[in-house]
């Protein structure tokens, strides 16, 4: 076994980890799509907003400080506290739930029965709004997220895998944060699946996903379900925001992970929770391996930007509903 093989293995493992991070974002999409048929483009910006709110609350920033200072000529920026991570996460979750209420009340309620494409465009508008709003509220500087998740290479794995290769192999390099993310994503998926299978609300969610009108006729409140779904999606966004924020800082590029999650969805199917996870894995591994084997040596690198899309595109031509999506049946 050559060192190149082990290096390839390492790329593979890291691809898996990256895939989990994509799946975290894709999960939020699937939840909302299943329950309301809305393709929520704003999911990535929601993750950014949640992360910003979390950091803002934790470090005691004054919301809209810049705006208030500009208008009234005052000069304050911080409340001067530093909350423990746990409290800040709970408060940020509260903000996301409030956000779900606002979205339902001011946007979704008015767009019932519109074509899906109109709803999709409305979420693009929502994404723009949140992007500007988040920047106004917390400022647009890069913020550092610190909720106590350890980072850096995992020495234990590195030391215990070193014996596999020869003298020039020092063990697999895996980021501890990615391992945490994997575990948390696994817990999240299991929890969501259990919730939708065994709880009363979960059953209602599935009923709404099946057929809006039939669900209404047996007394399920659509509006309440939408609020719940958007709140759960907000929670998933918060988790994704924490993970990505701890990894690379809370900044605008965080919202672009939504763009990474889209091919994951196409591959896994828009309606399947396991599909989101497996699609994420395939994309994560595929793009890392492609970059390693073909992209970097032959194509000049940075193929990660488009590889996922091309893969999903090719895949869709043969299976339009994705891996686990429901079969698309069309009637005239």
């Amino acid at each position: 076994m050559s060192a190149g093989f082990y290096f390839g293995m390492e790329v593979f493992l890291n691809g898996m980890m990256a895939g989990v991070m994509y799946s975290l974002v894709a999960l939020g999409f699937v939840l909302i799509f299943k329950a309301s048929g809305i393709f929520n483009y704003a999911q990535g910006v929601m993750a950014l907003f949640a992360a910003m709110t979390l950091v803002g609350i934790q470090t005691g920033q004054v919301p809209f400080a810049h705006l208030i200072n500009t208008i009234f000529g005052t000069n304050f920026h911080h409340f001067g506290w530093h909350l423990p991570a746990f409290v800040a996460i709970l408060l940020a979750l509260g903000v996301m739930i409030l956000f779900a209420f606002i979205v339902e009340r001011f946007i979704l309620k008015h767009l019932v029965n519109q074509e899906p494409i109109i709803l999709f465009m409305a979420t693009i508008g929502l994404a723009y709004f949140m992007e500007g709003f988040g920047d106004l509220m917390w400022g647009s500087e890069i913020m550092k997220m610190d909720v106590g998740i350890p980072q850096g290479g995992n020495l234990w794995i590195e030391e215990n895998t070193a014996f596999l290769g020869g003298d020039d192999f020092y063990g697999f390099y895996l980021d501890t944060l990615d391992i945490y993310a994997t575990v948390i994503a696994a817990i999240l998926v299991v929890a969501l699946v259990l919730f939708s299978k065994y709880s009363k609300t979960g059953r209602a969610l599935r009923a709404v996903a099946d057929d809006h009108q039939a669900a209404l006729s047996v007394g399920i409140s659509l509006r309440a379900i939408w609020v719940i779904v958007w709140a759960i999606a907000g929670f998933v966004a918060l988790v994704a925001g924490i993970m990505w924020g701890s990894k690379s800082g809370v900044q605008f590029s965080l919202s672009l992970i939504a763009l990474k999650a889209l091919p994951v969805l196409m591959l896994g199917g828009f309606t399947s929770i396991p599909g989101a996870i497996i699609g994420g894995m395939i994309i994560g591994v595929g793009e890392k391996m492609f970059e390693f084997l073909i992209g970097a040596p032959f194509l000049g690198g940075a193929t990660e930007n488009w590889f996922a899309y091309m893969l999903a595109l090719l895949f869709l031509v043969f299976r339009p509903q994705g891996l686990f999506g429901e079969k698309i049946i069309e009637r005239v």
Partner: protein, 358 residues
């Protein structure tokens, strides 16, 4: 009182099918053309040309193209920024490889090249629909931007990776480069905008356009009545990309002068064009112009008010722009999903009965 069809008798089929059946509309159209061609070129100065008129005309062309795809054929595309880049880079390659080629030919050829690329990326539309297609067109966006960034041949191996337009003339007037008169650049773009809009308007009510609309309304039913979906969808992609390519070529050579692909033709450009289509109105020529005008003028106005009048910092103004644009999109979709064009239609219907409504 003045705006009605009563007493305006049509005596032939062509007259019955004309674009502006009401006399006041027709007069208004000719007056606008006269004003745009004969008055504006003498009044235009550098600021107006570069801040308002040129972007308005160029984006109008692109929005007409995108509207053909989204509004008339019902295929949502988020890759128009990438197609604009194809237009821009092919115009650059044509300008530098064939210095004697007329700019008019260069722009049209860039459009044709983009049409071929667009049709190639339109191929998946035969299998996938709706969101899937929208996301699939993002593949075009990312792939094309990456391509123009990585393959040095496209930017003639320049060290900065930028492309900049060499000086070219049309009928003896500079049309690109620093010596361009604003009036000349304006007229050049205006001719393209008006000509292409005229073609598009007539195409949408021809056989081709009707096929697109049949596909948009229900593609399976359209197939049953004998519309070939392959031809209809690919022709929509090709025509739409031709328009977007022409707009990209003009944007780069006449308006910007120099461009870097990620910055000038990134995702945000694709979204800007989609917003223009939504705000203007899906499936409307007037809407295409109205949407482009709105999205060009609106940020200029906001900036003037917030930075110029209130003296706020530019970054706060920029954030506010995002907030307001987002609110506008959502607001438009809730109140009037068919955009400014529908508002205009309602206003005209009211005007017909004015001043004696039932």
């Amino acid at each position: 009182m003045f705006y009605r069809e009563a007493g305006d008798f049509k005596t032939s089929y062509p007259k019955d099918e004309q674009t502006f059946p009401i006399k006041l509309d027709r007069t208004g159209y000719y007056a606008t053309m006269l004003f745009a061609f004969c008055v504006v070129p003498f009044m235009v100065n550098d600021y107006w040309a570069s801040a308002v008129l040129l972007p308005f005309l160029i984006y109008s062309i692109a929005v007409i193209g995108l509207n053909i795809l989204i509004g008339y054929c019902g295929l949502l595309s988020l890759g128009s920024g990438g197609f604009m880049a194809v237009g821009a880079y092919s115009s650059y390659k044509l300008m530098t490889s064939f210095p004697d080629l007329s700019m008019i030919v260069v722009v049209l050829l860039s459009g044709l090249i983009t049409a071929v690329v667009g049709a190639a990326f339109g191929l998946p539309s035969l299998r996938i629909k709706g969101f899937y297609l929208a996301v699939a067109t993002l593949a075009a966006q990312f792939f094309l931007v990456w391509l123009f960034n990585k393959v040095a041949w496209f930017y003639n191996y320049s060290a900065s990776g930028q492309i900049s337009a060499p000086e070219r003339t049309v009928f003896g007037f500079y049309i690109t480069g620093p010596n361009t008169q604003p009036a000349v650049a304006y007229l050049f773009c205006l001719v393209f905008a008006v000509g292409l809009a005229w073609v598009a308007r007539n195409m949408t009510r021809s056989n081709t356009g009707r096929k697109w609309m049949a596909i948009r309304d229900m593609d399976i039913a359209a197939e049953i009545i004998g519309v070939n979906p392959l031809k209809a969808k690919l022709s929509a992609f090709a025509v739409s990309s031709f328009y977007i390519g022409v707009a990209g070529a003009l944007l780069f050579s006449v308006y910007l002068g120099a461009a870097e692909v990620g910055e000038s033709f990134g995702m945000s450009k694709s979204f800007l064009l989609v917003f223009m289509v939504i705000i203007g109105g899906l499936g409307s020529m007037f809407g295409s112009f109205a949407g482009a005008a709105f999205m060009v003028l609106f940020p200029v106005l906001l900036k003037n008010i917030m930075v110029g009048q209130l003296g706020w910092a530019t970054d706060i103004a920029a954030h506010f722009e995002f907030v307001i644009v987002g609110l506008l999109i959502v607001g438009f979709l809730i109140v009037e999903p068919h955009g400014l064009a529908a508002l205009w239609r309602v206003a005209k219907d009211k005007l017909r009965l004015w001043p004696f409504p039932h």
